[in-house]
Amino acid sequence: MKFVLIRIIRSFMILNYSQPLEVTNLTSWLDSALRSSMSEFWVLLIEFVLVGVALLAAYAVIALILIYAERKITAFFQARFGPNRVGKWGLLQSVADMIKILLKEIVKINRSDRFLFFAAPFFMIVASMATFGAIAFGKGLHAIDFNIGVLYVTAVSSLGIIGVLLAGWSSNNKYSMIGAMRSGAQFVSYELSAGFALMTIVVLAGTMQFSEMIDKQQYCWNIFNGHISSIIAFVIYLISGHAETNRGPFDLPEAESELTAGYHTEYSGLQFGFYYLAEYLNMFIIASIATTVFLGGYLPIQVKGWEAFNGIMGYIPSYVWFFGKTAGLIFLSLWVRWSFPRLRIDQLLNLEWKYLLPINLVNIVVMVILVLTGLTLTDLLPGIF
């Protein structure tokens, strides 16, 4: 026992020395502490439960923070103050909203398809939760790391549309139905672009595994590595990701002036809360996948040869880097949302099928040529990147 403890402390100190604030210290300490007193089975069981609880808690907390941030930033774009009465600077506003939404009655709609009506929000929340698990939040904070991570994320996140379509179908309401159909058309179209944009980077990185993709970006993020092609893919991914989350200029599935609230018109209380939560989390997921794939994930900014600089950057913990980059992309999404008017359905489909998709297809070919002929930055300037 004493020997084990010494070993734990020693490993703790070695980790501690270079990166004192990483969560890896805590998780590896917990793992070895559990392993020293239990059999393999119980260790894994406890760790799985802990990871699940941590992810669920993070899911709820991130949604609350995002709702607050969105309301604040929206207000600033409109020269208002935003929530500023509940708590200091209105910090408790979204907590209060959450309590209110939990206390609300769940209204049962007459002549609706009861089973599908109740099942629909779960599809939504399960899809975004499953995608949420595959995000690398930081060094050692990566729950699911398949070797086909990109494919997994694209597949699972598109399950959410089933929830939307079911909601529209089962509500027995014209507005819900139209909203769901619009959402379906939009989602199917833009999923294509998002997938192709990610595919461009898969060509560049040569892997679909998120952890490997991140490791390869240590000195040169993918967005710089594939220069012109990467930047086009990045912009297309942001646009189509934004459209997939039904927000901003692409929010015609829930166009208030035409469809009251679109597919979630008939939902109340916690069920509406699920849709609300999933909407914000999808925004976060899109931003974090863009961070992982294009902006080097949780890695700090590092320059080859500048050891002192790299060391200082390394002291900032990886999750701070991850959330910082993600927050930047979320701000961009909000900025777009409050800049542009809502598209008509024909404009929406025009943008996808006439512009994004052809550009994307050409872009993949360009990227393949760049990679094959060695014109990526890491190939061109191996001394710097």
Binding site: F76, F77, Q78, A79, R80, F81, W335, V336, W338, S339, F340, K354, Y355
Partner: protein
Amino acid sequence: MRSVAKYFSGLFTGIKSLLFGMSVTWKELWTKKVTQQYPENRDTLVISDRFRCELVMPHDENNEHACTACGICQMNCPNGTIVVTSQMIETEDGKKKKILDTHQWDLGMCTFCNLCVITCPSDAIKFDNTFENAVFTRSKLVHKLNHEGSKLREKKKEPLAPKGE
């Protein structure tokens, strides 16, 4: 060929105009907030002079007003908001004179049309800026405009203007 050129020019002008739009909102992000935080900013609150909140009858330092109790405001009021009661008194030199007893105005029925103020021949009433008029009972909405013990301001004798001007 023309359609290809149109496609690309449309694409790039579109991108340009989107970026311009984003630069506009970026500037808007840093502008001064226009929200009035009302109960806190009571001291610095600015209300336009022309805003009609409450009908008042200005009294000077001698507690004198300009209302001759002619009743024109009452006649012009479309809602019957104003009730002017007057009494006849006899002045020292034996002339009979009508003086104001009470000038009653009901805020609850007033539409703030300003007709009473426009038609008043002696400019005795006006709308002022005290806008916090909420009360708990309807009877408190009925205001008596002339102060207690006030009287008509005597006009100074001025030479009459020649006719025709």
